[in-house]
């Protein structure tokens, strides 16, 4: 039952819940989460195809499958895609969908801002990948070291697509992060103190802080680079007295926290799944949470370990080495606590649990190689070699991707109300596990025998042929594994067996509501009395069971939908295209436009900025809107009426 309130503002806000309009105007964190997931899985496959072409090129020495320029474009786009368009948004999908459910909220704090994040993610992803369409994909590496990225060395507009795409993606990440922080700090259910938060929500909080502190440096670096390329500044231009090494510092002040932005959500997921399938609470919850926060803090103090070979001097080198080694302690502590969680439990080997256990193994191996190059002299032999590629794929695939796949198998029943076949899931896990190790373990050997990164070819007599061959075979197996996970996911959406509310007998609050959850998440306001609330509801003492407060007579207040987040993102897209095509002949944009006339930045960017700012103004004046929903009597069973003194909980 829905009752629409009076609509404030100039225009009526869109009300349609279904179809294209319903999706484009949605402010529901669950739909937005699914939007992130669809985009991220798509780009995961795109980045995977790019990776497979790279691997096929290196399968045999002196191969000619792709030329040098294309190869460089492929690894640039592979890195950019996987970091910004696959792993980060897939984490954001879980933040969006799961976190509000875990804190017992109706939605995130700023639902329209949340939609803006999603649309900026799509726009950023489209801008970066449009460069393929114009056949000028950037060939600068995902790290874009100046001065290779400056106009004299990269004159084509591929680099501009990359700069603008990353800037827009930065807006997406920032909008999301401010939203998540506000939601977690302000919208927790009554009784859900910080130290009762599920670890995944904790890691969402820490990751969001990392994002809002780490993105400003990369934003500034990208602005400086854009100005160097378009407006004649000299930040990275040696001829004008610039210091290219500045880029390296700015990039890694962002880039190292980014590593933890990619892995902390993964650690959060693992910390949820291990207790459920061990049937025990997380061992040492406060220490696990604290370790996550310490990793976040230390993450900002280690960026120069990416620059040991630039010659920082003994003092700086040793200081950064020490801080880097320190990170191994909170990381190690987490692994120990996970083993402590398994210890004495009743381990059930479901698909999510296999991915979680695989995560611990692979992340541990990646961690050890990480400790190895925390030592600067050792790093001097490993930096920019295949050893480093092996290292960070062990933590990013074996770590992040394994955990995200674990999260997909774990939360799929909650999101769809259906089950993914466990036997097929296990088979795919073993496929991915074998393929992954075959693909990346030989890279340790390649690095130790001197194979540098980002090289499109190598000579047979260098002795790198055999490990490269097996690595490619492994990559193909891994690729098929991931592809079939996506196929299974889509299949199960339609044909999966019904799962019920809580198929895993899981412990945290999101499992207390229906699967999939109603638009308002919970019909009642949950009153929390313990950390593993759903487990306590079933097995715990009476005083630890959850309370329920029914909504007031007016029902549950829900936010209205809006067109303006999408319009802001479209305005940013137009502005961005203006920056990219600044001073380019018009025919570069579309072949039928005149060749002799050049774009000026003001044409498109001016128009785009008008669209953006008008949309922001209309966003502001369309008013809060909203409508009320009334949960069914069944949902409200056992709920008490709200205390009129305190007012209703929205």
């Amino acid at each position: 039952m829905s009752t629409t309130d009076a609509t404030y503002g100039i225009w009526n806000r869109p009300l349609k819940k279904t179809g294209i309009v319903g999706f484009l105007t949605t402010v529901d964190h669950k739909k937005i989460g699914i939007g992130y997931a669809i985009g991220a899985l798509f780009f995961l496959l795109v980045g995977g195809v790019e990776a497979l072409i790279i691997r096929l090129q290196l399968m045999v020495p002196e191969n000619n499958l792709v030329d040098a320029r294309t190869y460089n474009e492929l690894f640039t786009m592979h890195g950019t895609t996987m970091v910004f368009l696959a792993v980060m948004p897939l984490s954001a999908a879980f933040f969006n969908y799961i976190m509000p459910l875990q804190v017992g909220a109706r939605d995130v704090a700023f639902p329209r801002l949340n939609a803006l994040g999603l649309w900026c993610f799509f726009v950023g992803g489209i801008v970066v990948n449009l460069s393929w369409l114009y056949q000028v994909a950037p060939a600068i590496g995902w790290f874009g070291y100046a001065p290779l990225t400056t106009k004299p060395y990269s004159p084509d507009i591929g680099t501009d697509f990359w700069i603008v795409g990353l800037q827009i993606l930065g807006i997406a990440s920032l909008a999301g992060s401010f939203n998540f922080i506000t939601t977690i700090l302000n919208m927790r259910a009554p009784g859900l103190s910080m130290m009762r938060l599920p670890v995944f929500t904790w890691m969402t909080l820490v990751t969001s802080f990392l994002i809002i502190l780490a993105f400003p440096p990369i934003t500034i670096a990208l602005v400086e680079l854009m100005f160097d390329r378009h407006f004649g500044t000299h930040f990275f231009d040696v001829g004008g007295g610039g210091k290219p090494i500045l880029w390296q510092h700015l990039f890694w002040i962002f880039g190292h926290p980014e590593v933890y932005i990619l892995i902390l959500p993964a650690m959060g997921i693992i910390s949820e799944v291990l207790p459920v399938f061990s049937r025990k609470p997380l061992f040492g919850y406060p220490l696990v949470v604290f370790s996550g926060a310490v990793i976040g803090f230390l993450g900002f103090a280690v960026w120069s370990h990416h620059m040991f070979t630039t010659g920082l001097g003994i003092v700086a080198t040793s200081a950064f080495a020490f801080l880097t080694m320190l990170i191994s302690i909170p990381t190690g502590v987490k692994i120990f606590n996970w083993i402590g969680t398994l210890w004495g439990g009743r381990i059930r080997f479901t698909t999510p649990m296999l991915f979680a256990l695989g995560f611990i193994w692979m992340f541990m191996l990646g961690g050890f190689t990480g400790i190895m190059h925390s030592s600067p002299p050792v790093d001097a032999q490993q930096q920019d070699s295949y050893f480093v590629i092996a290292h960070f794929h062990y933590v990013l695939i074996g770590g992040s991707i394994f955990a995200l796949l674990c999260g997909i198998y774990y939360w799929f029943p909650k999101v769809t109300g259906k089950l993914m076949n466990d036997n097929i899931g296990k088979l795919l896990f073993y496929t991915i596990f074998v393929g992954f190790n075959l693909a990346f373990f030989p890279m340790h050997i390649l690095g130790m025998t001197g194979m540098p990164r980002r090289t499109h070819t190598y000579k047979a007599e260098m002795g790198w042929a055999e490990p490269n061959f097996w690595s490619t075979i492994g990559a193909l197996i891994l690729g098929f594994g991931i592809l079939f996970v996506v196929i299974q996911l889509i299949y199960s959406c339609f044909r999966g067996q019904p799962s019920g509310e809580n198929p895993w007998d899981a412990r945290t609050l999101e499992w207390d509501t229906s699967s999939p959850p109603k638009e308002y998440n919970f019909g009642y306001t949950p009153v929390i009395h313990s950390r593993d609330q759903v487990w306590e509801n079933k097995y715990g003492a009476a005083e630890k069971k959850m309370g329920k407060i029914a909504p007031g007579p007016h029902g549950i207040h829900m936010p209205d939908q809006s067109w303006w987040p999408l319009m802001v993102a479209i305005g940013l897209f137009i502005s961005g295209m203006g920056v990219i095509f600044h001073h380019q002949p018009m025919s570069t944009l579309l072949p039928f436009l005149p060749e002799g006339i050049h774009f000026h930045i003001l044409y498109f960017t001016g128009f785009g900025m008008v669209v953006t700012f008008m949309s922001i103004i209309l966003w502001a004046i369309e008013g809060p809107g909203g409508y009320h929903l009334h949960p069914t009597a069944e949902e409200l069973e056992g709920a008490v009426q709200p205390d009129p003194q305190q007012g209703g909980h929205h």
Partner: protein, 350 residues
Amino acid sequence: MSLVRAVRLKTARLLLAGIFLILASVSLGAEDRIHKVQNVFDPHSTPAHGILGIAWIVLAICALIFVVVGSLLVYAIWRFREKRGDQGTEPPQVYGSNQIEMAWTVIPLLIVLVLILVTARTTIEIDEPAFPADALQIQVVGHQWWWEVVYPEQGFITANEIHIPVSSEDDPRPAIIQLASADVAHSFWVPQLGGKRDLLPNHPNRMWIEPEQTGVYWGNCAEFCGTQHANMLIRVVVDTPEEFEAWVLNQQRPPREDPAVAGGRHIFETMTCINCHAVGEKGAQNGFGPDLTHLMTRGTIGAGVGETSRDDLYQWLKDPDSMKPGCYMPDMKLSERQLNKLTDYLTTLK
């Protein structure tokens, strides 16, 4: 139970030993004088030895932790799996243990303290050693995609191949290499002689090597520097002191002027070749392209894409892009006659 555990430990050790054997066996193939396989486990120079020393320490510590933690993990997974009859009951709900958690926080901290002390010592040894006053000085300038090599004290310039004398305990001859870049970031890496060091524009850098075995050592640019990053190979030629003296003397000689190839020299000096390249006093001294004064004393052209053979030189002059797509050496559209003459001339530059 303990037997199972012991067997498991043994398997893990065997596995590690196997990995090391694979790595060691790769080095066995590199007995000939040209070290094409750049195995860091087979160092032939002082800083590379030091690095390998600390690498073994770190590897050993990591391997030890891996065996302990890995065994615990495998044991926990196996021992605490759900068994028949477990259904419907819950295991004891243990929330943590301050003592245990304290232990596994403090012990890693102690390991890290040991590790950083060992590391700092090696870092200092490698970064700031005491050099003899007469140590050989070499300047290496990175270009897209080749290496300019300057011997300032000996007064000549070459490219892509660095000659240094071999060191022995009685006669240490460290070579100090000053690193700079003419364009973008590069990185100098010859794994068997030392760790890598970056060549950055507007950021001078330095490294040193002290090889104790003669031979040719291969290396690569290790920092992505554009299209032909993969074809920016380094060859360090470690000579006996006598060979090195002879090589220096030859490099210092003015270019050979063979009247038989005067036609080729004329093409070189009148076409645009000398805008970028130099032969002796003639031509650009700006380092746009490699110095060709003693081209034929080098083993390769195009930073490793071809040999200094007549065929490869001819092909390189005819169509550089066919050998190194995207390189800055232009196709000068020379006629076959011009190409032959020019190639003949270049092959006399010994």
